[in-house]
Structures are given as C-alpha cells and as structure tokens.
C-alpha cells in the first residue's frame, strides 16, 4: 500500500477528478471492511459501515493534514464511525442458550482441532461481552497487528490509556473464559 499513491489520488480528487477516489476505495476496501467486521461480526453490516466510512472520508478529504499518513487518518474516521454506529445500534450478542445445537456426531469422528475451535469461539464471545472501551481497544490493537501507537491514534487517546485498557481487558477476559469454556465444553459433550 503506497502512501505516495494515496497522496496522488487525494490531490486528483481535490482537483476535481472524482474517479480517482475509486483507487483509494480499491486500495483500502479490504482493511476497512475487515475492521468493521471485527466491530460488528456481521458481514452485511460491515460493508454498510465501511461504505459510510468512505463517504465520510470523501466529504472530509480537504481536511486531511499530510503530517499524518493517509491510512492513519482514514482509520481514525472509520474507527469513530464504527464505534458510534455500534453504540447507536449494538451488535446482536447471541446468548449461549440461543445457539442452535450442532448435529450430534460420534466422539471419534470429531476433528482433532475441535477443542481449538471451542477455545476460539469462547475467546470471541468473551470479547463481545466486554465493556465497549475495552472491546474497542482490544479490537483495534489486534487489528493493527499489536501496535499500541496506531491503536491509540485510531482511538484518539494517549498510548498509556490504550495500555491500561489492554491490561484491564485481558484481565476481564481471563476471568470470564473459564466459565465460557466450561459451558461450551459441556454443550459439546452432550
């Protein structure tokens, strides 16, 4: 992903060549949709939110200060939008009781990685159940490949705040996981 290409396309758009915005969309559609998906866990809604993020970026394009990378600026716009959208209409969290029962299979036929899947499922559920500020911080930290500085810029908070929220978020996760895992394992064994 080239910063120069971003800058050239932004300049073209600002000069009136609206079609150049398509290059920006093509370059950043994947990351923005994936970030949205991490927030809402709904593919359709993730695309809608990413689309709105691009429109907001287009409207605010003249306000991009080149001191920050275009990607940082774009992610900040997207993050603010996703957070406010999720607060406006929270994602549907499915209770364990609402999850449809999987077809019962003989224990021997289960794949070897079934335990791993259960663990992953438990972690994702535990993250969804976190208070918004910890969930958002964890989501952005792992989306930005564990870069505290970038997560802090996207959230608009100091790095120290991100580190504190990460620690607290992980603590809560560790506290909740054993219970979730036990519930999921119980379901699997039935």
């Amino acid at each position: 992903m080239s910063a120069d290409a971003d800058q050239a396309d932004v300049e073209k758009v600002l000069a009136g060549d609206i079609a150049a915005f398509e290059n920006i969309v093509r370059r950043w559609q994947g990351p923005l949709i994936n970030l949205a998906y991490r927030f809402c866990h709904d593919r359709g809604r993730a695309e809608d939110m990413a689309q709105e993020a691009f429109l907001r970026a287009y409207r605010a394009l003249g306000g991009w200060r080149k001191s920050a990378a275009f990607s940082t600026w774009l992610f900040t716009i997207a993050t603010n939008l996703y957070r406010s959208e999720l607060r406006r209409i929270p994602q549907r969290t499915i209770s364990l009781d609402d999850v449809p029962e999987p077809k019962k299979e003989p224990k021997d036929s289960r794949p070897a990685h079934a335990g791993e899947e259960t663990r992953d499922q438990a972690v994702r559920r535990a993250v969804l159940a976190l208070p918004a500020k910890y969930r958002e911080t964890l989501t952005l930290f792992y989306f930005h490949e564990q870069d505290v500085a970038q997560a802090a810029r996207s959230l608009g908070v100091p790095e120290g705040t991100v580190k504190a929220r990460l620690n607290r978020g992980r603590e809560i996760l560790r506290g909740k996981l054993p219970q979730l895992l036990a519930e999921l394992n119980l379901r699997e064994s039935q």
């Binding site: 429109l55 957070r83 663990r119 972690v123 908070v157």
Partner: protein, 126 residues
C-alpha cells in the same frame, strides 16, 4: 487457557473479501455527493442584527437584575442617557418576553449540540 492462546485467537486474520459491488456502491454514493448542491450557508449577515439586538436585550436584563437587587446605580457611573436607553430596552424585553425567548434558544442550542456530539461520536469517554 493461557494468555498465548488468547493472543493467538485475537490476532488471527479474519480475511473478509469485499463483495463485487462494493466499489461501485461507494462510487455511486460519492457521485451523488459530488452532484448534490452545496449546503446552504447560515445567513450570518441577516442574523447579525437579530443577534446584536439579543445581546443588547441580555445586557439590559442583566442591568435590570443588578438594579433590582438594590445596588446603587450611581456607583456604576453609567451616564443617564445610556441608563434611560437601557431602561427602554429592558421595558421592551419585558413586554415581548425576550428573556424567555433567549433562554429557550440557549436550551435548544445546548440540546442540539449535545445530540450532535452523541450522534457523531465526538463525545469521548476515557
């Protein structure tokens, strides 16, 4: 479950591939935005006299309140002509209930600002 397993799950790539119509959908929205007429600017020139009148009325009200609490007006050393003008303005303000109108306008402004901050997400919780 140890911390490493949690970390691994959280940092796992999701890899959602955008649908084929995504780019065209965004560009259709962008073109709609570009072809829309520019937003109507707030008519500051027209509003300025009304705002000035409002500020004057507010001043008159403050002076009237000061008078009512019994402070000696002579201590303020305000010229008589200005005082009589203020009294007139204050009278008009009382007659038309400008104080209430201003109060209502301020409350409305506060509500709108607060709502917009909440909707746009500029209200930060730390």
């Amino acid at each position: 479950m140890n911390q490493d397993q949690i970390e691994r799950t959280l940092s796992e790539e999701i890899g959602i591939v955008p649908s084929s119509g995504f780019v065209s959908g965004v560009m259709a929205g962008v073109l709609r935005e570009a072809s829309a007429p520019p937003p109507i600017p707030f008519p500051w020139k027209r509003a300025l006299p009304a705002l000035a009148a409002g500020a004057l009325a507010l001043m008159a009200m403050i002076i009237a309140v000061v008078e009512n609490v019994g402070r000696p007006t002579t201590a303020l050393r305000i010229p008589d002509s200005l005082l009589s003008f203020m009294a007139q303005v204050s009278e008009i303000a009382k007659t038309y209930g400008i104080g209430w109108i201003l109060l209502t306008a301020l409350v409305t402004l506060a509500c709108v600002t607060l709502s917009m901050r909440l909707v746009t997400g500029t209200w930060r919780t730390r």
